[in-house]
């Protein structure tokens, strides 16, 4: 089950489908959902209201083995990943956070966190500037 349908979801879905996994995507972008449904036969749940647990149940989260909270909104990812982990006891929960403070906070609170490493970007940028 994937929350969010940005670039990362676009990259992951073809790979997951090719490997034979069942995929459900929850997102508020109806057009992107429709495209994923058409091209990769994923289940889509269109989010229109702030009723997160209802949408998770509509997507049958209790059957999910892996939950990816990878929208481009840190706060929403943090909430929904914790619901998946603690309320629905999904085995593997991965949460994308871009804010380094939140990466640290939620790693400390036991979430598996992914996101751009700002210290890496900083080092890389400096290296490029200094040639």
């Amino acid at each position: 089950m994937i929350f969010g349908c940005g670039t990362l979801t676009d990259l992951l879905v073809p790979y997951l489908r090719q490997a034979g996994h069942l995929v459900t995507v929850l997102a508020d972008d109806a057009d992107a959902l429709e495209r994923l449904r058409r091209e990769y036969q994923v289940q889509g749940v269109w989010i229109t209201e702030p009723l997160m647990q209802d949408y998770l149940q509509e997507g049958e989260i209790e059957t999910a083995e892996v939950f990816l909270a990878i929208s481009d909104r840190d706060h929403q990812n943090a909430l929904v990943a914790q619901i998946a982990k603690h309320i629905f006891n999904v085995g593997t929960v991965i949460c994308r956070l871009e804010n380094p403070q939140l990466q640290q906070l939620y790693t400390g609170l036991g979430l598996k966190v992914i996101g751009t490493s700002t210290s890496g970007l900083y080092a890389e940028t400096r290296q490029l500037i200094e040639g």
Partner: protein, 219 residues
Amino acid sequence: MYVTIIGCSGVGYHLAKALLAAGHEVLVIEKSHSRCQLLYDELGSVVLCGDGTDQRVLKSAGVGRADILAAVTGVDETNLVACQMAKETFQVPRTMAVITDTKNESVFHFLGVDVVVNTTHLAVTGLEGGVPGRPMIHLLDLKVPDTELVSVSIPEDAAVVGKRLGEIQLPPHSFVSLVVKRNQAELAASNLVLEGLDEVVAVTVADEEQSLYDALTGV
């Protein structure tokens, strides 16, 4: 007490005013500059402009010595992040949040938010109580998940009128705790006879609400 308030629209503003009037030390953190300016003009230097989920902002607000952090923005997930950051990073002993998505209440409690106020539920309960006839009123959410106290008004032509409580079939997890009659409230003994216009106070769970209502009001 030193109370940090995150978000200063309706709830935050009135909470700040009430706490200041009660003699507490208050600092409000608000994201919008124009809103901050308005608040500064009225409340003085208790307003800090910034993101209440940014550690640097919280640090400069002295959240480390706050007794309470109240996250009252209109966005549930932002309130959760603010509370978790306050508790984990700044060891604030008591965190409070408002929510609009009713089902977030148990999640927030589970994740360590001490006080969770469900504004949607409060508004609906208030409005429901104002509708004439008042079929079923939600009185209180109990500590047990999904369990609540409700009040049902018995119609004069209901099938249960004239029956003893012990004879009435209710859903398995629902039971009557109190019957409010015209002159007095009575404990729900099994030989108590129901009459039209009685107010029945019952414990029920979300799934059984409708069948409890049907059992008590059906003709």
